[in-house]
Assembly symmetry: C2
Homo-oligomer: 288 residues x 2
Amino acid sequence: MAKNEILDTYEQLKKATKAGFLSAGTADLLSELFERSAAFVQACDREKLTSKVEGKSYFRFTSGDKTSRAVNTALYSDAPLPWKKALAALDSALLPEDVQARITRQVYSAVISFCSAIDLLKSGDQKTPGTVFEYAIGFLISKQLDCEPQQTMPIMNADIGTLKLPTDLVFNLGEGKPRYHVPVKTSSRERSIMFWAHQRLLDGVYGLERYQGLPVLLAETKCSKSGVVTEICLPDQWKVYQTYIAKLRSIQYLDVPKALENLGETYPHVIVRPLGALLATISSGTDC
Amino acid sequence: MAKNEILDTYEQLKKATKAGFLSAGTADLLSELFERSAAFVQACDREKLTSKVEGKSYFRFTSGDKTSRAVNTALYSDAPLPWKKALAALDSALLPEDVQARITRQVYSAVISFCSAIDLLKSGDQKTPGTVFEYAIGFLISKQLDCEPQQTMPIMNADIGTLKLPTDLVFNLGEGKPRYHVPVKTSSRERSIMFWAHQRLLDGVYGLERYQGLPVLLAETKCSKSGVVTEICLPDQWKVYQTYIAKLRSIQYLDVPKALENLGETYPHVIVRPLGALLATISSGTDC
C-alpha cells in the first residue's frame, strides 16, 4: 500500500515536471513524495553500520530481508515535513551558515528517505532515485534563481549546422548575467570525468567558463552486505581533470565525502562544499 | 558442463593476462576459450531477427527461454578455429584489404560467440564479455606491435606530484616513435564522451596528439525482447566532441554501425572503420 502510494506519487511527479520545475504541481508532489517516503522509512527498523569514514556514523533501514543504502546519522532528521521547512528557509533573502547547514540536512533527509524507500520496495532500481534527486535539486535551484533550466543546448557551427545537444540542467539568466551548468548525480562513480568533459565542451562552444560548472551529488558512500560503509573518492584524479581538461567552479554534496572536503585549499582548487553553500551563493545572483 | 568449461577457461585466462598479453598462456587460453564458446553456440538454435538497420541482417542464439545478443549474419562464420586463422593472417607482413576484412570477420565470430555464450549461460552479465573483448583486442594489438600495453600512465606535475593514473590500453613504442591510446568497449552507449575526455587529458599532459586516440568497439546494436535490432548512434554529438574536446585518430568497430560509416568524409572527420584496417596500419609501425 505504502509502495503503491509512493510509486503513484512518483508517476504524477514525472508528469508534473514536464510543465516545469516551478509549476505548482511539481512543488506539491515533491513535498507529498518526500512526506510519504519519510513516513514509510520511519516505520522501518534501523541497523547501525560499521563506518570506516573518520568522524561519520551511518545506519540503514531494513524491511524483511531487504536493506536500504547507508544513511548519515548526523545529517538525517526524522522531523516532520523537513522538505517544506527547507523551502520556507529558502524564501528568506539571506542564508547565513547555520541556515545553509540546516537546508543541507533537510534536503538530505528528504532525498535519502525516498532513495531508501525505493531500495526497500524495489530491487536494483538505481534510476528512480537518480531521477527524483535530479527533480529535487532542479526544483531548489530553479526556485532560488526564479528561472527554469534548459535541458538541451543549441550548438551552432558552420560545419555541423544547428544542433540541439541534450545536456544536464543549464540555467541561462539572460544577457550579460551568469549562466550555470548543473549536472546532478547520486554519486560520481567511475564517470566523474564526464563533468569535466561537458565543461570543456561548453568552454569550447560558448567561451571559457561562460557557463559555470556546478555539479551536485548526493554522496559517495558504499555499503557492503555485511554493513561496512566506505567512501569511494578519487581526489588525485579530480586534480588531474581540473588541471588538464577544464575548470569546474565547485562541486556540491549533500553528504560531503571526507577525502574531498579540503580539496579546494590548494591548486588546482577543486572546491567541494555542501549544497546549502551553493544555494546561498546563487540566491545572491552573482558568480558562484 | 559446457558452462563450467567456458567459465574455467575464462578464470585461467584472467590469471594468464597478468603475465602479459604476449605470454604463451594468454594466446593459448584465448584460443581455447573461443573454440569452446563457438562449439557451445553452434549447438544452440538460431532465431532470425527483424533488422531495422539498412543492408544488415541479424540473428540470435537461443537456449531454453534465454536469448543471446544480436549476431551480424554476414560477419559471423561457423568455420572451425576462426581465432587461430585470424592469428595466422596477422603473421603475414602485409594486410591487403581482403585479408583485413577476413580478420575483422574472424575476430567478430570469435568474440560474439563468447559474448553470446555468456548471454545464454548467465543472467545480466555485461562485465565478463567486456573483459574478454579487452583481452582479445589487447592481445591482437600487442602482437601486431610486439609491445605490451601499460595500464597506468605516470603524470608528473609540480602541484600534484607523481601520480599513476589508471587508464585504458596505452602502447608506448619508445622514444620518437608513435604512441597509441586504445580504449576498448563492447559499445559506447551514453559514455562515448569519455573517449574524447581521456584524449584531452593526454593532450594536456603529454602534448597534442602525442598519444593517438584509437578506440575499439564491438558494435552498437540493440535488440528488443521481441527481436527487433536497431543501432544506437550519436553521429552529431561525436562531431561536436571531435570539434570542441579533442581529436581522436580513428574509431574501429568489428560491426561498423551504418550511421557512422561515412562520418570521416567531412569535417571534423571522425574516421570510423573496421578493426582490420587498424591492424593493417599499426603493423606498418607508422602513424595511424
